[in-house]
Amino acid sequence: MTLSPEEWQAVALSLKVAFWATLFSLPFAVFVAYALARWTFPGRQLLNGLVHLPLILPPVVTGYLLLLTFSPRAPVGAFLGELGIVFAFRWTGAALAAAIMAFPLMVRAIRLSLESVDMRLEQASATLGASPFWVFATVTLPLTLPGILAGGILAFAKAMGEFGATITFVSNIPGETQTLPTAIYAFLQVPGGESSALRLVILSVIVSMGALVASEILSRRITRRMEGA
């Protein structure tokens, strides 16, 4: 199976978009998950709702809201443009859309894992002289690792497949914002494009399965380590 340069471009761009979307949202997701799991503060439910919103809203709506916010004519977009950060109709915009759509999945996985951490181990760590930062870094975070990993992989897969918000926010520009799903859509719109579309479909299945297998292997290895093998 050989791919045309255009098809390669879509695959490479998708991987790039998903990679950066996952990497950048991970620290935020850990922070938000920790806040939701451990802290009580006014507006906690509001934050919870806000994080989950992209999961419930039609993706087109999320994409349109992003466009309203980050278009160069909007205040936020204009301000960021002054700083040299442009999202609208750029691959960075595709990454932002993917990150936002994947964020709830990531937060959920990490939060679940955080809630299963035995807080008595954190107490033990504190009595041994660890400050709250070190308790988090040496006990909480390592014990949450399986959830962080699962959340990351899930988010990566979601980011690879994001369609609605991406096409609404950054359109479908080959080489700039045309990711795997939008490319498949574009190929299906033109006569004779089915074979290209099919190749990309097979590729997306392979990438998704690969991600799933990788996460399974990693999480098994972590579990085995904790169980002491």
Binding site: A124, T127, L128, G129, M226
Partner: protein
């Protein structure tokens, strides 16, 4: 070094209002389940803050609600030995042991590490993960981890409660060594009379959120008025010296000019032993008994008689060997016409003293 604690805290129906001191050695907080023992230890650790209170180790103030001082746990320099071990599952035994030193950013003290690993016999386990250890092994690593944190105070919350009888006997000697070798206060929570008798230098008996009595173990355990876990579990403590081992499997001890015979104990002649004499197993007689199979007959005078609402009474008898508690029926105290100051003989069957009643 002495730990002083005073605190007030409402816990549901239980009003904790107490003050005690824990000198060097093992101070056992002794009371039944639900008497607030764990709350007290967690307060000393800084995991809980009482409504009012003051806690200090010698001159170092850990908590003073009056001045608003409240050191967080990680600044209190503790070694906390938990009931369930609480080893870090993602670290191996060696990393668990060095965790405290690492957190204190103290240089690794190789000889100290080797000494403690050797004492606890955990050298073989260093590269293993906690999940592969047995209950007794986990608890030994937990003790090592607490000791290696270079603490100014050791806390132990029922460290033997989750172990079976055999494992308990495996761990108890380590606490005896700790008591004799470490020069810091050890606050130890227990509801087991046998554990208290073997380990305690000082006993703080808790009853209904208050300190019922505190003092040297021999005094508190020999007081019939103080039975934090019920009269059934009462028993006095005697400190005796090993005289010799007999060929028929008995060990002869001496205390205050009186000889005691016990089932064989592995201890050098001349060494000191602590023997718990369960009040349940002591018989009283007005006359010096003759033609009796029991080997230990201690003459003495009645110090205190404590009768309750039930059929039983606790009688303390002052003998040359020390105070001995006897749990007899109230009917017997009447039939024998026991009076405070009257002479009486306390009879203890040799085989009634179990191996777990004898410690260093």
């Amino acid at each position: 070094m002495t730990l002083s604690v005073s605190m007030k805290q409402q816990l549901g129906h239980l009003a904790l209002d107490l003050a005690f001191e824990a000198p060097v050695g093992i101070t056992v907080l002794f009371g039944r389940s639900g008497s607030g023992k764990t709350t007290i230890v967690n307060t000393v650790a800084g995991l809980l803050t009482p409504e009012t209170g003051r806690i200090c180790v010698q001159d170092r103030v850990l908590l003073d609600t009056k001045s608003g001082e409240n050191l967080p746990p990680h600044k209190r320099r503790l070694g906390y030995i938990f009931q369930e071990g609480r080893l870090f599952p993602h670290l191996n035994v060696r990393q668990n042991l060095t965790y405290g030193r690492w957190m204190a950013k103290a240089p690794a003290d190789r000889s100290e590490f080797d000494r403690i690993v050797e004492m606890l016999g955990i050298g073989e386990l260093l590269e293993r993960r906690p999940a592969t250890l047995s209950g007794g092994e986990k608890q030994r690593v937990g003790i090592g981890r607490a000791l290696l944190a270079n603490p100014s105070l050791i806390l132990a919350d029922e460290p033997l409660a989750s172990l079976d009888e055999e494992r308990k006997q495996e761990i108890l000697p380590f606490f005896e060594r700790l008591r004799d070798e470490v020069s810091i206060p050890i606050l130890y929570v227990s509801h087991s009379a046998a554990e208290v008798a073997r380990l305690a230098t000082t006993v703080v008996a808790l009853d209904n959120g208050k300190v019922a009595r505190q003092g040297p173990a021999v005094e508190v355990l020999g007081d019939p008025m103080v039975t934090p876990t019920g009269a059934r579990a009462a028993g006095a403590l005697i400190e005796a010296v090993v005289v010799m081992h007999h060929a028929d499997g008995l060990t002869e001890l001496e205390v205050g000019g009186v000889r005691l015979l016990l089932p064989r104990v592995s201890a050098e002649p001349g060494s000191r032993l602590r023997v718990r004499i369960p009040a349940q197993e002591v018989i009283l007689s007005r006359q010096a008994p003759t033609g009796l199979s029991a080997l230990n007959i201690l003459p003495g005078t009645v110090e205190t008689i404590r009768g309750g609402d039930g059929p039983g009474a606790l009688v303390s008898v002052k003998t040359p060997a020390g105070s001995i508690l006897a749990r007899v029926t109230r009917r017997s105290t009447a039939a024998l016409n026991l009076q405070v100051g009257g002479t009486v003989h306390a009879i203890v069957k040799t085989l009634a003293i179990a191996p777990e009643d004898v410690g260093r």
